[in-house]
Symmetry: C4
Subunit: 245 residues, 4 copies
């Protein structure tokens, strides 16, 4: 159930169909699981085939993830909003477009389903199912990269929902494809993805000890974007022409 | 001739133009032949040029296949539905959107035309026309990969037909581009493609002895997706707002 | 001036704006010159940077050409139809959608402007302006590849104009990206492009002695597609529902 | 505030929402900063991972920049026009679609914000923040390449705004992806980008001594395009059918 958006403010979330909570959580679960299967699976494929050239592996990884996101957001968006990402759910909760209890349920489902998706990828590639990553991704530069990545992701979502809601799936897929390349952390930008990737000691993995700083940077980036784009995307009061939520 | 969809259920297939059976089968034949020429031809090109780096070959192969699918579904979809794939036809038959006799005719045409497409690719690349693949793709991991690949393909088709029918060609092309990378089997996801590729001993080939498990996994994946997405894409009864098939 | 399409037949060409012949020929000239600058320039860039791996060079070449075609067809299509290709102009002339004298003017402009585009590419890359290619592309396989490439190109154009005219630019760009990979000849599919590329001894070149077979195969492919898709894209008489040209 | 377009001439700029100057300048600043972070960041990522194969680095760099531009133009276009580029602002000023004082403010903001974006990229990749490039990009061929790149960019913008304003973000992103490959200079096509990239001694850098010729060529290309496309995109007087600005 969506709360009303703040008075005088345009809703950024397109109206959802009449799907109940079970359908919504199922869509978040299936979407998050498939997203992680795509992220981790294409990373394994790239690493196995690229003969040590990580730029080629990243090309396959980034194109597969971006293309997959366009698909998943298109087919699950009208059911659940296609967040797949606690940072996105947080940003919508801040804007009062999803109630806090429902937001919490979303986040739990996203995290659990993401882990299942990693295990599916491992099974497909004959990897041991249960792994823990040893790939350290530490330091302030990595945290800054995650802040920028998540700030840009939330801005892309809010901006396209505001001006071109029909293109949101495309904008998010293109953004992540670009962000895999322009952020030094290859743009996790998603706490559920971060947790799940800590359980894969492959191309896409991240050591558990590196995850807290990633998640903190992501949440700060999401809050900063919710504030900044909340202001930027609103016409100035003098010139409003009758839009209401 | 399309049967009525089950009562209370939304049709997933967009209305087709007034094309008769001859036109429809011709569209399936031309589309399947071109699809296989694209899959096998771009595989040969990639393998010949990539100097042994299979990730680079897969980049060319996956981009060409995805781009080609967008084209083929756009130009043949309004004539025949642009299945090119017995697993897709099966899923529509399960949902009673295509009669079983017509579905059988579709599947035969898809398989035969796919083989012709492989031969065209061989001729273009000065390869022997008649080949049999020796590339084993065996084991439960490969079968799981084909299950996932086909489940996701049918879900992508049903989801985009339900919410964004104008984008179906794009969604399928993007899905296959991603699936070439994130499934360990490089996502055949199509029994006609599987049979045809067994007749090419090149990059895209599959040994005939590996095909039964692939095809079985594809059909199970298609049935599972027809059931799962049949439930997921339907609003819950309490909140239906008058949509009828 | 467009002739009326044959009675009982749908026009495949979208209505053009009120642009006169001077504007149209200028659009064909600018578009063909830019197309060849893109094809030859991105080939030189790829070859110079790819350290001998021609698959990587072809990735850059095919992505640049496909992306460039979407742009050129979008911005010049409403002025001249954005043929840039005597084989395309021939197919429209066969369908009586462009008068033969105008078609001849189009073809001359396309060929001359294409050559200028090659020279611009050479100048940008500090290559000698005037070159003749020594790259032989001979044999029946290459001719078959050009037949298939052009047949598919014309089918893609006619199919998208028939069903999704707003997407024609995208469909052509995606088709050519795929065709660079799945045809053994890397899909010239255009007599003006073939002539112009014979004047560049770089990645995209073709020896003049190889051009007649290419051009012949392209024209036969265009005629075959005009006939085949002319039939396929027309509803069968029994079920026509009042469409007129 | 937009001036009226010249009498008898169609406006090329879509109507903007009711955003005030502060919002507009903030959108130009955020967009230009993110654009430079994308250009420079993806260049660093490509160079670090590509093991010396610059074609692979350019693939990542060009795909990230093109995808990023689609995103940035979609989310900032309705606020400020999403110029991010003094050459684009100049072209609109020549067509009297933006007043000269506002154009000057745009250009200053673009240049300053672009430099900040470069510094953000350096910080994310643990590079020294303050750098000066030593990469010479000199000679008449490079200047010609920048003239062509900017001429084509302005033509792409004007053409898509004229015929398909909803697709402008896509057309610009695709154009730049192609232009990275087909112009010998990898298509800076933007004075603010040129200045900012002179402050990065990485893949995307340019020595300060090479910048004046780049910027001059860009401005000449923009003016030439404003004149040429101003004529080409206007229907001939005889056949105008009542369009007014």
């Amino acid at each position: 159930m969506m709360n009303a958006a703040p008075a005088g403010d345009a809703s950024l979330e397109p109206p959802l169909g009449a799907f109940g909570l079970t359908h919504r959580l199922a869509a978040e679960a299936l979407g998050a699981a498939l997203l992680l299967a795509i992220v981790v699976g294409s990373g394994i494929m790239g690493e196995r085939l690229a003969a040590g050239n990580n730029a080629i592996a990243l090309l396959g990884n980034s194109l597969a993830t971006g293309a997959g996101l366009v698909v998943l957001i298109t087919i699950f968006g009208p059911i659940s909003g296609a967040h797949f990402n606690p940072a996105v759910t947080l940003a919508f909760a801040i804007r009062r477009e999803i109630a806090w209890p429902r937001a919490a349920a979303y986040a739990v489902v996203q995290a659990v389903a993401g882990i299942v998706g990693v295990w599916v990828a491992h099974a497909m590639f004959s990897e041991p199912i249960f792994q823990v990553s040893t790939k350290l991704r530490d330091g302030p530069s990595q945290a800054l990269a995650e802040f920028v990545a998540t700030f840009g992701l939330i801005g892309s979502i809010f901006g396209s929902l505001r001006f071109r809601p029909d293109a949101t799936a495309w904008i998010v897929g293109l953004y992540i494809t670009a962000a895999y390349w322009f952020t030094a952390s290859t743009s996790f930008a998603n706490p559920a993805v971060t947790i799940a990737r800590s359980l894969s000691n492959t191309f896409a993995g991240i050591a558990p000890s590196s995850t807290p700083a990633f998640i903190a940077a992501q949440l700060v980036g999401a809050i900063a974007a919710a504030v900044a784009f909340g202001w930027l995307l609103n016409e100035s009061p003098k010139r409003t022409f009758g839009r209401t939520a």
